[in-house]
């Protein structure tokens, strides 16, 4: 009989759910977290179970993400750092680490011999997080999904301020000077890459294997390219990268013999 796992990664913006058969992902779902992380998680679980004709008793539910404490019906729970690492290894075996840019924080995780050996997290300041990018897009009148299409791939107007609040003023100033929006956008992406570089530098990657970019922003090929350039390391992504945390929650639950 298949051992089924459901991993729920409750992030600040999206609640990501993955169904896992012990080896790989067989179904996945992302919904808005909303004001009640427990509720969006419960609804996601219900939806995944229903469309796969499973019942609650057939699965082990493992939670992660900043809202994990609110998921009181989970059988076990792990931090998002561990989950992103193990999810990353499941999706892209052989990687040396994970870069995750989340809504509230960003993190860089080092993997050696199938284990997490080091990580860095920026959770004190909005710069370098999804929140900062969101704010910038709003200022520039863009949608997050359109970054790649819109940003100038070759030329950037640097946004120098490392503080998200001041960076916003800087963007307003640049717009007032009628600077090119597409180049400001590239500057914003570069400033995120700089933040990531501060973290990768402290971790000290060897460069022998690529890093996997996870989270919602892994959809932007341009951002990945800019980050790879900034940190001088190979960065790859995966079509299920958004679900890396949820997948990792399943892998961790399996490792812990929770099923």
């Amino acid at each position: 009989m298949t051992k089924w796992f459901v991993g729920i990664d409750s992030g600040s913006a999206l609640c990501k759910t993955a169904l896992f058969d012990g080896k790989g992902v067989t179904d996945a779902l992302a919904v808005k977290t909303g004001w009640n992380p427990g509720l969006s998680a419960a609804e996601s679980l219900g939806c995944i179970l229903k469309r796969n004709s499973l019942s609650r008793g057939d699965v082990c539910v493992s939670s992660t993400g900043y809202g994990r404490e609110a998921i009181d019906f989970a059988d076990c729970s792990f931090t998002e750092i561990t989950c992103h690492a193990f999810g990353g290894m499941n999706l892209a075996p052989g990687i040396e680490g994970v870069i995750d840019i989340g809504g509230q924080d960003s993190k860089v995780i080092q993997i050696e011999g199938g284990r997490v050996t080091n990580f860095m997290m920026n959770d004190k300041c909005a710069a370098g997080t999804g929140r900062f990018l969101n704010m910038s897009c709003e200022r520039l009148g863009l949608r997050l999904e359109d970054i790649d299409e819109f940003a100038d791939p070759d030329e950037a107007i640097p946004v120098n301020n490392m503080c998200a609040v001041f960076a916003e003023s800087e963007i307003i100033g640049l717009l007032a000077m009628q600077k090119d929006r597409s180049k400001i956008m590239t500057g914003v992406l570069q400033s995120i890459a700089q933040k990531i570089r501060q973290m990768t530098g402290k971790v000290g990657f060897t460069g022998t294997a690529p890093l996997l970019m996870t989270g919602g922003l892994s959809k932007s090929a341009l951002l990945i390219r800019i980050i790879a350039q900034a940190i001088s390391l190979d960065v790859i992504t995966h079509e299920l990268a958004l679900f890396a945390g949820a997948v990792g929650a399943c892998v961790c639950a399996g490792d812990k013999g929770r099923w």
């Binding site: 931090t79 750092i81 284990r115 050996t117 990580f119 997290m121 959770d123 004190k124």
Partner: protein, 384 residues
């Protein structure tokens, strides 16, 4: 966690700071002089020898920071802001009752704060050298210790006899030996007590002013814990990851770090900071000339205000082995530059020792509790 009953003396340490308020007031009423100290570089033997009472000044709560920020910049170490805040608001009875405050030129924030403090309190600042090596530094600090002696004698109109300084040295050494014996109980696997409990005693012992009584209580606490452990009592599961905490002074508001570790499957076995090993490990040489011996001992404290700070590295390397540490967590306080810069050296050192290391920066607010929890829980999950 199944708990054996902790010795009752143990709880006595938990309340020591509060109980001490009353004790200090009574001591004052009896005509005793009180000397407030801010830092572990303060040679309290000199104070004790003068028959005065040394007290550690409150510096670990955010309740006075808003008041302090009316004068001090926001972007300053919370320890400095908090202590200054306690002084101006008179919320710290220890400062309130202090006849004299002794400070040292440690970090920039503190030494400049003393200037402000001296507007309304009597402050004596000792010039602390910034290095421990070389005769110049040693000579200077010996001179400073003897100046402190002169100052205290003059201030309180007493003569510190050779006999009384030697007695003070013995009493303080005795306390240090007991504290060391106490925290070294946690070398056992699993440790007999949690890090929260260990900290209660380490921190609380500062606020017991009758040394003979305090040393007796410490002895009793150690014996009781030992006995319970030998009888099979276990308060900490075998599986708990053994964590050493290093970095800036940790107490009060920043106990949130210990809590986050111990709620996530870890147990703090050792403190390499000003609450623990940093202060207790070194004794004053009882066979040397007293003031020279005091000066030489204090100067060797491995704080990041020293350059280079080899004694911290030496102590850390030793403790991680002695306490069979699984991981090291460093706590730095926001805007503490010397510790924050030294993090890079400590990270390298721990790599060399092959001990997983993480560093977290925090302040006295509770706003980062959830993030700290995630970070520290992830660190503990990461440990092999």
């Amino acid at each position: 966690m199944s708990g054996s009953a902790l010795p009752s003396q143990f709880e006595g340490f938990a309340d020591a700071r509060k109980q001490g308020f009353l004790t200090v007031k009574n001591l004052k009423d009896e005509g005793k002089n009180v000397v407030g100290v801010f830092c572990t570089y303060s040679p309290v033997e000199v104070v004790l020898a003068a028959g005065a009472v040394p007290v550690g000044i409150c510096a670990f709560s955010d309740e006075t920071i808003a008041e302090a920020e009316k004068v001090l910049p926001r972007n300053l170490c919370p320890l400095v802001k908090s202590s200054y805040g306690f002084a101006i608001t008179e919320k710290c009875p220890y400062i309130y009752f202090s006849d004299l405050i002794v400070g040292e030129t440690t970090c920039d924030g503190k030494k400049k704060m003393y200037e402000l403090l001296s507007d309304f309190k009597k402050v004596h600042v000792m010039q602390l050298p910034q290095t421990q090596s070389g005769e110049t530094a040693k000579e200077m600090w010996r001179k400073e210790v003897s100046l402190l002696k002169d100052k205290i004698e003059e201030e309180f109109g007493v003569d510190i006899t050779d006999e009384s300084i030697k007695r003070a040295i013995r009493v303080k050494n005795e306390e240090r030996k007991l504290l060391k014996e106490f925290y070294e109980l946690s070398k056992s696997c699993p440790p007999p007590i949690t890090g929260t409990e260990q900290l209660k005693v380490l921190y609380g012992s500062q606020f017991k002013f009758d040394y003979a009584q305090k040393n007796k209580e410490l002895r009793a606490t150690i014996d009781k814990i030992k006995q319970d452990y030998e009888n099979g009592a276990r308060n900490v599961p075998e599986s708990a990851k053994r964590i050493l905490i290093t970095g800036c002074p940790l107490a009060g508001a920043t106990e949130k770090i210990v809590k986050a570790i111990e709620e996530s499957g870890g147990v703090v076995v050792a403190y390499e900071n000003c609450m623990g090993a940093k202060t207790a490990e070194r004794l004053v040489d009882e066979n040397d000339e007293p003031y020279k011996a005091i000066a030489d001992r204090y100067l060797q404290i491995g704080c990041s205000v020293m350059t280079p700070n080899n004694n911290r590295y030496e102590l850390l390397s030793r403790l991680v082995k002695e306490f069979k540490v699984d991981g090291v967590v460093e706590m730095t306080l926001q805007a503490c530059h010397t510790y924050a810069v030294e993090t890079a050296m400590i990270r390298k050192l721990m790599q060399k020792e092959n001990v997983p290391f993480t560093s977290v920066e925090t302040d006295y607010s509770t706003s980062d509790a959830a993030q700290l929890k995630t970070r520290l829980a992830a660190f503990i999950e990461m440990l092999p």
